[in-house]
C-alpha cells in the first residue's frame, strides 16, 4: 500500500448542493433521532434518493463529515481503511501517521489479521479525534458481500461508537453483524418505504420546484403510479418543466401508459425524453463520458479535449440532468452521473455506435491510464473492450506492484473476467493471481495456479519466472509442514534462479525456515545469513529486517545472546528510523529479553516499554501476556519480587484472555522461580509438578527438561539429594547435545552446587569449569557474577579461582565477606514456606472516599494536569461509582451540562470524554482504554480490573450484615473494621455538585452505620475506650444522635461511673435544649434513670 498520497481526493468529495431539492424534514428527524446509535443504514434501490437525503442532512449538521464514495476497488481492506483515514485527515491534519506507515506493505498482515489495522485506526481515533464525526459510506453495495471490509466496519462501529456515527447508503442490506440486530436498533434503518414520497411531499415537490399546484386526484395518481419513487417523480417533474418551457408546443405524455412499465423502462422512457431535448453535441458528450467510472473534470478534459467538458459539464450539472457534482470548494471536482442514467447512456452509446468503435474508445481510455502508470484502472477498460490478451499482459507485468499496493482483492476480481487462455499466454499473471489467492486464504487455489504457472512458464522458457513460481510452491508446502517437499522445490527453484537474485534470496530464507521446522538450527542459521547477505546486496530493506529477525532467533534459542542482539540491531539500531509496525513489538520484546539475560536493565526497560506501546497500539492480545511476563522477570532479576509477582498476575490474566495454554510457555517456570525467591517453595514445587505432567502430555521434550531443572533446584534447596546428581547430569547431557548452551550452563552450575553439597569436590570442579567455559564463550558474565556472589565457596576453590579472570576473583573475595541470606529489594527476607504475595492486582485504582486518588501504579501517578478539566475527572468518578459502572450518555449530559444549550454540549461533550481517556493514560507506558461506549452508555471497560473504594466499602458492609445474621462476631468485627478503614473521608471531597452531595450523604450514612455497629460491638465486648472513641466519632458529625448518647450512658453505667453519667446527661440535655429547643426523648430519660438506679 502506498502512502496517504495514493488515495484519490475525488472519492472523498461530498455531492455539491443542488438548489431545487425538497427538504424532507420527516426523514431528517429520523436521522437525528438515531444519532446516538452507532450506525444508520439507508437501504433502497437505485434512484430512491439515498445519497441526496444524506448529503442534504450533513449540510445541516455541525459535526465533521468524512464522505466516502465507494466502488468495486474499495473491497480491499487496505484501500478502504486508507480512504477512511485520509478522510479524517481533512479535519485532523496530523491524523494517521502510524497508520499509513503500517499500511505500507501490510497486505498479508491485513488479510490474516483484519482486526489489526482497525484496532490501530480506532486507537488513533481515540488519541487524536476529540469531536464526534460522521462517516458516510456511499454506495456501499459496490464492494460486494465477500470482503473483509464488512468485518472491519463492524469492529469500527463496535469500538469507536461514541466518536463515530457511520451512515451507509446501499442498494441491499450489508452483511454486517449490526444489521442482524435490527430489532435492537429499529431506528437505524431507512428503507425504500421511508424514502418514498408521501402525498404532501409530492404536492410540495411540484409546488416548490415548478410552482404547480396539483389537486388531490393528480397527487394520488402520481403517487400510486410511481409508488413514491423519487426518480420517477423527478422525471415527471423534468419533463413537465420542459413542457412548460416549450409553452405547450411539446407533445403531451401519456403518464398512465408510461408509469405502468417497469422502473427501468420508466427511466429509459423519461431519459429519452430528457436527452432528446439536449443538443446532439451534449448527447454525444454524455454518451462518451458514461464510459468512465469516475469523472474528475481534469480527466474528462484530457480524455475528450474536443468536447469542451470544462464548460459543458457545469452547465449540465446546473440543469440537474442526472448529473451531480462533488467538490469541497478547493477546486477539485468530480462529476457523477445518476447510476440509472449512466446505464441508460451506455446502452444508447452501444446501440448507436456498435461494438467495435465502443471497444476502440475503451482501449483509448485504457491507453491513457497506462501512460499515466495507472494500470489497475486501465485493465478493467481493456477487459470491457474484450482486449483480454493485453489485459493479461498488464497483469503479468504489473501484478506484483498491484499486490504490493494492497489492492489484491480488486486484482483478483478483475482477473476473474480474463479468460484462462489469455492468462496462460502470459503465465506470470498466474503467479500474481496465485499470490492473491494465498493472501485471501485460498491455499488450494494458489497451489493450482502456481502449478499451472510452472507448466506454462517452462513452456515459454521463462526460467526466472518458473523459479519464482517454484519458490512460491515451496513456501506453500512449508506452511503445510511438507518440509521435504518444500526443500525439493527450493532446489529446483534455485537451479533456475539468477545468481544473487531476489528469488535466490527468498529460497535461502524459506530453506532456513524449513530447517528450523526440522530442528536443524545451525543449518537454518547459515541459510538465513546467506539470505541476509543477498538482501543487503539487493538493497531490499524489507527482507533485511525480515531475515535479520529470523537469523537472530537461532542464536537466541541456543543461548548466544550477544550474537542474537547483533542481528536484532539490524532491525532496531544502526541509526535507522524505527517503524511502528506490529511485528516490531515482537522484536522489541525479544531484544528486551536478550538484554535482560545480559543484565542490561536500562535497555531491557526501554525495549519492554516499546513492545508494550506497540502491543497496545495494535491490540496484540497474544503478545500481552508475554510482555507482562518479561516485565515480571525483569523485576524479579532486579530483586523486586513482590512487584514481579504482581506482573506475573497480569501476565496470567492476559494469557487467559488470549486463551493461551500456559504449558506451552515458560511462564510457570519463571513464576515458580519467583515463588521460590518469595519463600513459597511449596507453591513453586506444586506448579512445577503440574507443568511437568502437562509437558509430558504435550510431548514437549525441551520444556520438560527445563521444568525438571527448576524442580531440581528446589530439591537441592530441600536437600533431597538422592539421585539428584544423576538427574541433573542427564539434563546437562541433553542440553549439550541439543545445543542449548544457556540451559546447559544453568544445569552445570546446579550440578556443581549439588556435588558441593554431597562432598564430591572433583566433580564439583569439573562442572564449574564447564560453567566457566560456557560463560566465556557465550558471554554470560552478568549471570556468572550473580552465581559467584551466591556460591563464593565453589568459586573460591583453588582450581577454579585460578581460572577466573582478575575482576571476577575480586567478586569471589567480596562475596565471601558479605555473603548473607537473600533479601528482596522490597525489604523482605525470604524464608521458605512463608508466602509474602500480594494475590490480587487491578488495572486501575479509584479512591473517592476522602481525597480523590486515582492511579494505575502507585509509583507512576498521572500528571498533575492530566484531567485538563475538573469536569472530566468528576464524570469519571460519577461513572466509576454508578451502578454497573455504566451511565447513559443522555444522563451524563443531563447531569453535567444541565444548563447548557445543545450546541455547547456538542462542542464540549466528546472533548471531555477524550480528556478522561487521555488522563488515564498519562505518563503510562501501557495505554489502555478504560472508558468504552456500548449501546448508548459509557462504562468502565469490562475487560479490565478495578479497585474502587466505594465498591470495597459496600462489599465489607454486606459481609458484615451477613456475619451479623449468622452471628459470626469475628467476621462481623473484621468486616466493619475494614469498611471503616476504607472510609478515609467524605465522598469526592471538595465537589459540591448535586449528584456528588447526594452520594456523599449516602456514604456518610453508611459510614455512621458502620461506626455505630462497631461501637455496639465494642460495648458488648466491654471495650469501653473503643466505645467512647467510636461514639465521639459519630457525635462529632451528628451531636443529636440520642441512640449514641444512650450507648455512652450505658457504657458509663457499666463502668460504674454514675457521676460521669449524670454530668454527661445534663450536658446532652442542655445541648438539645439550646440547639433544637427540645428535651431528651422518653427512651433516653429511661436509660438515664436506669443508669442512676
Amino acid at each position: 500500500m502506498q502512502s496517504s498520497n495514493f488515495f484519490l481526493k475525488t472519492k472523498l468529495l461530498p455531492p455539491r448542493t443542488v438548489p431545487e431539492v425538497l427538504k424532507r424534514m420527516r426523514l431528517f428527524d429520523k436521522l437525528r433521532a438515531n444519532q446516538n446509535s452507532p450506525i444508520t443504514i439507508i437501504a433502497a434501490d437505485a434512484g430512491c434518493g439515498k445519497t441526496t437525503l444524506i448529503s442534504e442532512f450533513i449540510k445541516m449538521d455541525a459535526r465533521p463529515v468524512v464522505w466516502y464514495q465507494l466502488d468495486h476497488t474499495d473491497a480491499d481492506p487496505a484501500v478502504f481503511l486508507g480512504y477512511v483515514a485520509t478522510g479524517i485527515r481533512a479535519f485532523v491534519p496530523e491524523f494517521g501517521k502510524t497508520f499509513f506507515q503500517f499500511l505500507e506493505g501490510a497486505s498479508e498482515e491485513i488479510s490474516r489479521f483484519p482486526e489489526r489495522p482497525v484496532d490501530l485506526l480506532i486507537n488513533e481515533i481515540m488519541n487524536s479525534v476529540e469531536q464526534q464525526f460522521i462517516l458516510v459510506l456511499d454506495d456501499y453495495h459496490h464492494i460486494g458481500r465477500d470482503t473483509l471490509v464488512h468485518k472491519m466496519v463492524d469492529r469500527l462501529i463496535q469500538y469507536s461508537a461514541d466518536l463515530l456515527h457511520v451512515v451507509i447508503t446501499t442498494r441491499d442490506m450489508p452483511p454486517l453483524a449490526i444489521s442482524r440486530r435490527r430489532a435492537q436498533f429499529r431506528s437505524m434503518l431507512i428503507t425504500r418505504d421511508d424514502l418514498s414520497f408521501t402525498d404532501d411531499e409530492v404536492c410540495e415537490l411540484f409546488r416548490s420546484t415548478l410552482n404547480l399546484q396539483l389537486d388531490g386526484t393528480e397527487v394520488a395518481e402520481y403517487r400510486s403510479r410511481t409508488h413514491g419513487w423519487i426518480t420517477a417523480l423527478q422525471l415527471i417533474r423534468q419533463v413537465a418543466e420542459r413542457e412548460i418551457a416549450a409553452g405547450g408546443s411539446a407533445k403531451p405524455i401519456n403518464l398512465s401508459e408510461v408509469l405502468r412499465s417497469s422502473e427501468r423502462d420508466i427511466f429509459d422512457y423519461f431519459a429519452e425524453e430528457v436527452i432528446s431535448r439536449e443538443s446532439s453535441q451534449t448527447e454525444l458528450l454524455c454518451m462518451r463520458l458514461s464510459l468512465l467510472d469516475s469523472m474528475p473534470l481534469e480527466l474528462c478534459t484530457r480524455l475528450f479535449p474536443d468536447l469542451n467538458c470544462s464548460s459543458a459539464l457545469p452547465e449540465l450539472a446546473q440543469k440537474n440532468v442526472f448529473l451531480s457534482v462533488a467538490g469541497d470548494g478547493s477546486g477539485v471536482e468530480e462529476y457523477r452521473f445518476h447510476p440509472l442514467f449512466r446505464d441508460f447512456l451506455r446502452r444508447r452509446y452501444r446501440s448507436e455506435t456498435g461494438d467495435v468503435p465502443l471497444a476502440e474508445e475503451r482501449t483509448r481510455i485504457a491507453d491513457h491510464f497506462l501512460d499515466k502508470g495507472q494500470w489497475d484502472i486501465a485493465v478493467p477498460y481493456l477487459i470491457d473492450a474484450e482486449n483480454f490478451n493485453r489485459a493479461a499482459s498488464v497483469v503479468a507485468d504489473r501484478g506484483s506492484e498491484w499486490i504490493a499496493s494492497g489492492v489484491f482483492t480488486s486484482l483478483g476480481l478483475t482477473a476473474e473476467r480474463i479468460p484462462d487462455d489469455s492468462l496462460e499466454l502470459h503465465p506470470r499473471s498466474l503467479l500474481h493471481l496465485a499470490e492473491v489467492a494465498r493472501l485471501q486464504g485460498d491455499v488450494e487455489k494458489a497451489k493450482r495456479l502456481l502449478e499451472k504457472a510452472v507448466r506454462h512458464l517452462s513452456r515459454i522458457g521463462d526460467a526466472f519466472g518458473e523459479a519464482e513460481a517454484l519458490h512460491s510452491l515451496a513456501s506453500l508446502a512449508r506452511r503445510k509442514q511438507d518440509l521435504d517437499g518444500a526443500m525439493k522445490l527450493l532446489e529446483r527453484s534455485e537451479s533456475l534462479a539468477a545468481l544473487g537474485s531476489e528469488t535466490s534470496m527468498k529460497c535461502a530464507n524459506t530453506r532456513g525456515l524449513c530447517l528450523v521446522g526440522n530442528g536443524h538450527w545451525i543449518d537454518a542459521e547459515n541459510q538465513f545469513r546467506i539470505a541476509l547477505e543477498l538482501a543487503e546486496n539487493l538493497g531490499n530493506e524489507h527482507y533485511v529486517r525480515l531475515v535479520a529477525h529470523n537469523l537472530a532467533l537461532a542464536p537466541g534459542f541456543r543461548g548466544d545472546f550477544a550474537e542474537a542482539l547483533r542481528w536484532f540491531r539490524k532491525i532496531f539500531g544502526n541509526g535507522k528510523p524505527e517503524k511502528q509496525l506490529p511485528q516490531e513489538a515482537i522484536g522489541h520484546l525479544n531484544v528486551a529479553r536478550l538484554h535482560l539475560y545480559r543484565g542490561e536493565f536500562e535497555s531491557t526497560d526501554l525495549h519492554l516499554n516499546k513492545a508494550l506501546e506497540l502491543c497496545q497500539l495494535y491490540n496484540l492480545r497474544a503478545l500481552r501476556g508475554e510482555i507482562f511476563e518479561a516485565y515480571a522477570n525483569f523485576y524479579r532479576e532486579k530483586g523486586e519480587f513482590v512487584r514481579a509477582d504482581e506482573y506475573y498476575g497480569r501476565a496470567a490474566a492476559a494469557y487467559d484472555d488470549a486463551r493461551i495454554e500456559l504449558g506451552t510457555r515458560e511462564f510457570i517456570e519463571e513464576r515458580s522461580k519467583n515463588y521460590r525467591l518469595l519463600g513459597d517453595v511449596a507453591r513453586a514445587r506444586a506448579t512445577l509438578e503440574h507443568l511437568i505432567e502437562a509437558r509430558k502430555t504435550l510431548g514437549n521434550e525441551l520444556g520438560l527438561r527445563t521444568a525438571q531443572l527448576c524442580i531440581s533446584r528446589l530439591d537441592l534447596d530441600d536437600r533431597k539429594t538422592d539421585g539428584l546428581v544423576e538427574r541433573i547430569d542427564e539434563l546437562c547431557q541433553y542440553f549439550r547435545q541439543h545445543g542449548n548452551h544457556y540451559d546447559e550452563t544453568l544445569a552445570s552450575m546446579l550440578l556443581a552446587e549439588t556435588h558441593s553439597v554431597v562432598g564430591n569436590n572433583k566433580r564439583m570442579v569439573d562442572a564449574t569449569l564447564r560453567v566457566l567455559d560456557l560463560s566465556a564463550r557465550f558471554d554470560y558474565e552478568f549471570w556468572l557474577r550473580t552465581e559467584i556472589q551466591r556460591n563464593p565457596a565453589i568459586f573460591g576453590h583453588p582450581e577454579i579461582f585460578e581460572r577466573l579472570p582478575i575482576d571476577l576473583r575480586t567478586v569471589v573475595s567480596g562475596a565471601a565477606e558479605v555473603h548473607q541470606p537473600l533479601t528482596t529489594s522490597d525489604g523482605a527476607t525470604t524464608k521458605p514456606g512463608v508466602t509474602q504475595i500480594a494475590s490480587t492486582f487491578s488495572d486501575l485504582t479509584i479512591n473517592v472516599l476522602g481525597q480523590v486518588n486515582i492511579f494505575r501504579e502507585s509509583d507512576k501517578p498521572f500528571a498533575p494536569d492530566a484531567w485538563t478539566t475538573r469536569r472530566a475527572r468528576d464524570i469519571f468518578c460519577f461513572i466509576s461509582t454508578s451502578k454497573n459502572l455504566r451511565v447513559a450518555k443522555d444522563i451524563l449530559i443531563d447531569i453535567f451540562w444541565a444548563a447548557d444549550d445543545p450546541a455547547t454540549v456538542e462542542k464540549n461533550f466528546h472533548p471531555t470524554i477524550s480528556h478522561m481517556r487521555k488522563a488515564l493514560n498519562s505518563r503510562q507506558s501501557f495505554k489502555q482504554n478504560f472508558i468504552v461506549f456500548r449501546d448508548g452508555a459509557y462504562q468502565l471497560n469490562p475487560e479490565l480490573t478495578y479497585s474502587i473504594d466505594t465498591e470495597d466499602f459496600e462489599a465489607h458492609i454486606a459481609a458484615a450484615e451477613k456475619a451479623k445474621r449468622e452471628k459470626d462476631t469475628e467476621l462481623l468485627r473484621e468486616s466493619l473494621e475494614r469498611a471503616s478503614e476504607i472510609y478515609k473521608g467524605d465522598f469526592l471531597e471538595g465537589s459540591y455538585e448535586d449528584w456528588a452531595v447526594e452520594r456523599r450523604n449516602y456514604y456518610q450514612e453508611q459510614h455512621v452505620r458502620v461506626i455505630s455497629a462497631l461501637a455496639k460491638l465494642a460495648f458488648s465486648e466491654k471495650r469501653w475506650a473503643a466505645v467512647k472513641r467510636l461514639c465521639d466519632q459519630i457525635l462529632i458529625a451528628d451531636p443529636f444522635r440520642e441512640d449514641i448518647h444512650r450507648l455512652v450512658l450505658r457504657s458509663l453505667s457499666a463502668q460504674g461511673k454514675p457521676a460521669a453519667a449524670k454530668k454527661y446527661f445534663e450536658h446532652m440535655a442542655e445541648t438539645l435544649s439550646k440547639e433544637l429547643g427540645i428535651e431528651p426523648s422518653a427512651e433516653t430519660r429511661r436509660v438515664f434513670k436506669e443508669t442512676m438506679a
Partner: protein, 273 residues
C-alpha cells in the same frame, strides 16, 4: 528462556510462536553459499595504537607457528588480530560462527579466505569435493588449498572457539600447522580454553597463547588513551584500577566521561548565552 522468542515472526505473523523441538539430529546435505561478510576484516581505522601489544604479537608471529589470543568478550582480541592482519603483505581472514562447525561450510569459507576470493558461489552439500571430515580428506583439502592457491603470510581464524567442539577441529588444526609453510603464521582468537590436544601444543613451542591479562590496558596505556580523549590522568588511573584495564569496560567509562563533559560544556554555553 529463549524458547519464547517468536519464530518466523515477520512473514508468518504471530501464531505458531514456538519452534518445534528438534526431533532428529541427522543432517541432510543442503546447498550452501559463501557468506562474504565472514571474510571481511573488521575496520580498525579508529582503533587505538598499542605499541606494547603490537610488539608482543610481533614477537609471537616471528617465533611461533601459531598464536592463540584468548580472552572474554570485549577484551580486544579481534582488534589485535586485525592490526596484525593489516601489517602483513598477504593475509587471510575468516570470522567463524557456530554455523561453521559444519565441515562443508567451514571448508568452503576457509578455502575462499586462503584464496582471498570473495566471489559468491553456491556449493551443493553433496557435491563439495571434501565433504567428509576424516583425516585423509582434511589433509587432501588442505594440501590443495595451500599449495594450489599459495599460502598467505598470515592466516587468521577469528572466534575459533565456535569450532572447539567440532569433531574434526583438532585434526584440522594439527594438519594445518604441519602443512603451513615456514613463512606463514596461524593466528586464532577465542573466548575459552581450546581442547586439550591444541592446548598442549604450547609445550612444543608451536603455539603461543596470549591471554586476556596481556590484552588489558596497563596504567601507562590508560593514561595515553585518556590524554588523547582530553580526560585527566587521575581518572585514567582510577578507571584502570576499577576495570583492571579491561579494554571494553575502560573505553565505556572513558566514553561516559567524554559524553558528560560535552554535555556539561553545552549546558554552560547555554547558560552563558
Amino acid at each position: 528462556m529463549m524458547a519464547q522468542l517468536y519464530a518466523d515472526a515477520y512473514n508468518d505473523g504471530y501464531e505458531n510462536p514456538l519452534f518445534s523441538l528438534p526431533t532428529t539430529l541427522t543432517r541432510t546435505p543442503i546447498n550452501t553459499r559463501l557468506i562474504t561478510e565472514k571474510l571481511e576484516v573488521p575496520d580498525i581505522r579508529t582503533s587505538i595504537q598499542r605499541p606494547r601489544l603490537s610488539e608482543l604479537l610481533g614477537r609471537s608471529l616471528a617465533n611461533y607457528t601459531a598464536t592463540l589470543i584468548c580472552g572474554r568478550s570485549g577484551t580486544g582480541k579481534t582488534t589485535a588480530a586485525a592490526i596484525c592482519h593489516s601489517q602483513r603483505r598477504t593475509a587471510s581472514w575468516y570470522s567463524v560462527t557456530l554455523t561453521d562447525a559444519d565441515w562443508t561450510t567451514f571448508a568452503l569459507h576457509f578455502e575462499a579466505s586462503i584464496r582471498r576470493d570473495h566471489r559468491s558461489r553456491i556449493v551443493s552439500g553433496t557435491d563439495f569435493s571434501h565433504n567428509n571430515a576424516d583425516i585423509s580428506s582434511i589433509e587432501a583439502f588442505l594440501l590443495e588449498c595451500l599449495t594450489l592457491t599459495g599460502c598467505p603470510d598470515l592466516v587468521v581464524i577469528d572466534d575459533a572457539h565456535h569450532l572447539f567442539e567440532s569433531h574434526w577441529f583438532v585434526d584440522f588444526l594439527a594438519i594445518l600447522i604441519r602443512l603451513l609453510p615456514p613463512s606463514s603464521h596461524l593466528l586464532m582468537t577465542c573466548r575459552s580454553r581450546p581442547p586439550a590436544p591444541l592446548w598442549r601444543l604450547r609445550s612444543k613451542q608451536v603455539l603461543n597463547v596470549i591471554d586476556e591479562k596481556l590484552l588489558y590496558f596497563s596504567a601507562e596505556e590508560a593514561e595515553g588513551l585518556y590524554s588523547r580523549l582530553d580526560i585527566d590522568m587521575e581518572q585514567a588511573l582510577a578507571h584502570q584500577r576499577l576495570t583492571f584495564g579491561h579494554p571494553q569496560k575502560l573505553l565505556k567509562l572513558a566514553t561516559e566521561v567524554v559524553f558528560r563533559t560535552a554535555e556539561t560544556r553545552h549546558l554552560i554555553n547555554q547558560a552563558n548565552r
